[in-house]
């Protein structure tokens, strides 16, 4: 079905109804995602507002009965990459490329890579400390952890949101978690916990 036909299929009343019924219930998750990506409340406000206005403008391409939350998260992620990441001072893109190169190298592929961190030390950390460690990750790695562990998306949903194959979701999550463990270990050690 072409976009034009779908568009004709929705009356104005239907567009408002879909927006309120399908999109608005996800606004807290969307805001949380935006805040975790930007780490700034004002930027999160702008990003969520832009995303919802885009979602309304392109509501004709949303198919009722499909996963509205994943559809919205995909728009938010794309808006973040296109509009916010460029002006962000965060050097994450460089870090990400360096890390990707390191992990993708032949030598790194089969090397056992473990972080010596104890479960007890993680249990001793409070939420702010875990959030600080998460925020310290390059944004692409932070994103997969937010989507999987905080928002509870499946690998298939994450693949759609991020436009990457499921295998890449899995390997990026693995890398992200190794990095997070390193941050948590450093954090736990600096706080005097027995990591």
């Amino acid at each position: 079905m072409s976009e034009a036909i779908i568009k004709e299929g929705y009356t104005d009343d239907q567009r408002y109804e879909i927006f309120n019924r399908e999109f608005m219930p996800h606004i807290d998750s969307m805001y949380n995602f935006a805040f975790r990506l930007t780490t700034d409340e004002d930027d999160a406000n702008d990003l969520v507002q832009d995303t919802y206005l885009k979602a309304f403008r392109f509501i004709s391409s949303f198919e009722q009965g499909t996963n509205a939350k994943a559809w919205l998260f995909r728009i938010l992620k794309n808006s973040f990459i296109n509009d916010y990441r460029k002006k962000s001072k965060e050097p994450s893109k460089v870090d990400y490329q360096e890390v990707e190169t390191t992990y993708n190298s032949e030598e790194a592929a089969d090397v056992t890579y473990t972080v010596d961190l104890r479960a007890d030390a993680v249990q001793d950390l409070i939420g702010d400390e875990v959030a600080t460690a998460l925020n310290a990750l390059p944004v692409d790695f932070r994103t997969v952890i937010i989507l999987c562990d905080i928002e509870g998306f499946t690998y298939e949903e994450m693949a759609k949101i991020l436009d990457i194959p499921i295998g890449t979701v899995r390997s990026r999550l693995h890398r992200a978690r190794n990095l997070l463990k390193e941050k948590l270990k450093n954090y736990a050690s600096s706080m005097g916990y027995d990591a």
Binding site: N45, Y52, A131, C148, D149, R170
Partner: protein, 96 residues
């Protein structure tokens, strides 16, 4: 985790393997453990996990660590709710 043992055992004799203190393919095991905790493991990964989980100390420790981190992210990291004025602003703009 150990590969499943195919060694024949004498009738009635239970094979007791000593707990492994070193895992030679731990990187792969971590990936499988994460997939299991994410509810995304394949049937063969789940079966391998079920048969071998209690035989390898590094994998047992990894399972508990990964589970702890996942739970900490889910339950300890504060979720920021959307401010009410932003909800109102979005509704106003859409309806204008």
């Amino acid at each position: 985790m150990n590969a499943p043992s195919n060694r024949p055992s004498a009738e009635g004799e239970k094979q007791e393997q000593p707990m492994k203190q070193h895992c030679e393919h731990h990187a792969e095991c971590i990936k499988k453990i994460q997939a299991i905790l994410d509810g995304e493991a394949t049937e063969s990964e789940k079966e391998h996990f079920r048969l071998n989980m209690d035989k390898c100390m590094p994998c047992i420790q990894t399972y508990h660590l990964e589970k702890c981190i996942k739970e900490a992210l889910h339950s300890k990291v504060t979720r920021k709710p959307c401010p009410n004025d932003l909800v109102a602003a979005i509704k106003a703009k859409v309806n204008s």
